[in-house]
Amino acid sequence: MISTHNLLEASRLRQQADSALTESLAEEARARSLQTTTPRLPLPSDALQADFARLTSLQPFGASLTAFLHRLADALDTLPGVELSALEWSFAPDQLRATAVIELRLPASTVARPDLVQHVVATLHHHTGSPAHGQTTSLPDDQGPLRSPSGQADTDGRPVIRLELPVSAP
């Protein structure tokens, strides 16, 4: 009785083993077939993925300086008497962030227009799409120069403001 049970069980196990073997051989054949049709890459796939991600993230910044200069020129065209005296552009590839620090020389008549700085900042924001930081909000009054920490006067006595603008990809 026990022996018969063992033999029946052995037979069942052999059938299952044969079935597993058949399936294994089929899986192995499918894997080999797939391996032969899989295209070969010229670079390791992880290196390619990393370089692809880096290039596609950098790509939008390719024209960012030129586009920013055009937008800045458009903004300055609407601000008579305001001149660009310095610009410092930097792009940090690792942080995917571009920053422009601009120095603007304001008209000598700025005293007569205490809202000019705010107007300049608003105009820059409108044209470049970037909020400017570090702007001066206090202007010289008739009792002498009163400047913000970021404001100063250049040699011809015209006020100068220095603004930092984060630049997004176009």
Binding site: A17, S24, A31, T37, T66, P93
Partner: protein, 203 residues
């Protein structure tokens, strides 16, 4: 003892037959158990092989998907010209032409050789080795106004290869009002990277 001997002689055959039957039963039992054990071992062995084959097939599928994605990425990069090495000689000619046309006598420039990108050069162990290469243009000097700078920040006319990326640029006006329209009053110091992905040479 004398009476027992004839009894044994008389029952000898059944005893032998019974003993043989017991031995045969035991042998059958052992054989059945051995068969079961052997079948069980074979089943386990083939089940392990099946698991490994499935894993191998799954890995092959994933490798295939990754490779095909990689090919698509390469095609995207190729379409954008990012697999083509920038032509440094054409860039040099472009700069020389612009310099002559715009009278940029006080402008110096240098086109660097192709090198690994800064991230790769600074920390090669940071990740998989990058195939990105960069040539950097360093411009320094004085120009009349910002408008003269713009053509220098653009890639040479017909070239669509690589990624042209102004990385740093500093402009500073040296005097408020120029004497003439072409008087260089703007100091410029800029660096522009030209990046591409260099594929290994096919043997």
């Amino acid at each position: 003892m004398i009476a027992f001997a004839p009894l044994l002689t008389q029952r000898r055959r059944p005893l032998i037959a019974g003993t043989l039957a017991i031995l045969a039963g035991a042998a059958l039992l052992l054989w059945g158990q051995a068969e079961r054990d052997a079948a069980d071992a074979m089943h386990r062995q083939h089940t392990i092989r099946l698991t490994q084959a499935r894993a191998m097939h799954q890995a092959a599928r994933e490798a295939d998907t990754t490779a095909r994605n990689g090919l698509r990425q390469l095609e995207t990069l190729r379409g954008a010209g990012l697999l083509d090495a920038p032509d440094r000689q054409a860039w040099q000619q472009h700069l020389l032409r612009l310099q002559g046309k715009l009278q940029l006598d006080k402008l110096e420039w240098e086109l660097g050789p192709f090198e690994p990108t800064a991230a790769e050069a600074s920390d090669p162990s940071a990740g998989p080795p990058s195939a990105l290469r960069v040539s950097t243009l360093h411009l320094k000097g004085a120009i009349a106004h910002e408008g003269r700078l713009l053509p220098l920040l653009e890639r040479p006319g017909n070239s669509s290869s690589g990624l042209f990326l102004p990385r740093r640029c500093r402009l500073a006006r040296s005097q408020p009002v120029p004497d003439t329209a072409d008087t260089p009053t703007l100091a410029a110091d800029c660096e522009i990277d030209w990046i591409f992905l260099r594929l290994p040479d096919v043997p």
